[in-house]
Symmetry: C3
Subunit: 131 residues, 3 copies
C-alpha cells in the first residue's frame, strides 16, 4: 500500500489527484490490474469528474452544499455533520482498471479528492493489484 | 478488459446491462473472483437497483432530477452541470462478486447504466479478475 | 465468499458491522489484499462514517430522509421508492485495503450497513482477495 499526503486549501474543495495516482501505478510496476483508492477519513470523499473546465467542480461543490446545507439543526457537536453526509454520498473507495501500466480513464475524467471539512492535512491510501 | 458499447435513448435513462455483464463474465472464463465495471464518462454513472417493476427506475430518475435540477444557476457553459453532479452521486465504478462463474446479485438486483446527459453513444469497461 | 446475516431494528438505521467484517478477514487468512463487501438488496446500502459520536449517524439518516422524502408522489406500488433512491445514492459495494491481516480503516472510520426500508432480515456478501 502506498500513502499519498495532501493539504486541502479550503472548507470544501475538489483536488485533482490523477497524476499522483498514475505515479503510484507506475511505481507499483503493475501492467494489468486494478488501482484501489481509499480515503481513511469521515468528512472527505473521492470521485471522478471532468478535468477540462474548472467551472464543473465549482458547480458540483456549490450544488452539493445547497443539497446538504452546512447548518440544518444537526446534533453532532463538532458542527460538521454536513461534511459527514456529503462524504457518504460521494463515497470513500474507488477502483480504476489498469492496462499497459496506465489508468483506463475516459478522455475527460480526472480523479478528485473531495474535501468537505477543510482546510486539513489528509491522506489517501492506494493499492495496486495485478489481475 | 472488455468494452461494451451502448446507445442511450433520452436525456436521463437507466439501462439494465445485467445480461451483458454476465456475458462478459462468462467470456472471461473466471469461476471465482470480482467483476469490475467502470464508466469512462463524466455525465453518466452506474448503479444497482430493482429489475422487477419499471416504476422503480422511473421514480429514481424523477426524484434525482428534482434533487439536482437541470438548471440552477450553474456556471459551466455546456449546460449539463446537473448531469456531472448526478454522476458523482451515483458513482463510476462498481464491483460484483463472482462464484461458480455467476454474478452474485440479489434476487431483485439489476445492474444499471445511468445516463444523465443523453441521448449519446457510451462505453462501459469491464475487467474480470480471479480471486 | 462469506455471508453475514443481520436483522435491522427500524425503518432506517445504520448498523456498525466493522468487527464482523474484520472477523471475516481474519477467517479468510488473507494478509495483504482487498476486502470486497456487497449488499444483495435494493433498499439498503453500505457506507463508511464516524464510529465515535452516535449523533453523526443520526444526523446522516435524518438529513438523507429530508433530501429524499418517504413520500413524494412516487409511482412504485410498494411505497418504498425513497429507500431505493437512498440505496443508489449510498451504493452497494465497498472495498477496503488489507495489510498485515487488518482492515486499513482510518482512526474514526466504521463500516455501516444502511437500512432504508426495515425492519428486515438482511444479508451481506464478503469476499477477501489476495493482492
Amino acid at each position: 500500500m502506498q500513502i499519498l499526503a495532501i493539504k486541502t486549501p479550503s472548507r470544501t474543495a475538489m483536488i485533482d489527484i490523477t497524476s499522483k495516482i498514475q505515479e503510484a501505478v507506475s511505481k507499483s510496476g503493475v501492467k494489468s490490474g486494478i488501482c484501489h483508492i481509499f480515503v481513511p477519513h469521515t468528512t472527505a470523499g473521492l470521485t471522478i469528474n471532468e478535468n477540462a473546465d474548472p467551472d464543473v467542480v465549482d458547480d458540483i461543490l456549490k450544488e452539493i452544499n445547497k443539497i446538504v446545507p452546512f447548518g440544518d439543526g444537526y446534533k453532532h457537536c463538532e458542527g460538521n455533520s454536513a461534511a459527514h453526509i456529503k462524504a457518504s454520498m460521494f463515497g470513500f473507495s474507488l477502483q480504476i482498471i489498469i492496462e499497459e501500466a496506465e489508468l483506463m480513464l475516459g478522455r475527460w475524467q480526472g480523479i478528485y479528492f473531495c474535501e468537505f471539512d477543510g482546510p486539513r492535512n489528509r491522506e489517501i491510501y492506494i493499492k495496486v493489484c495485478c489481475g
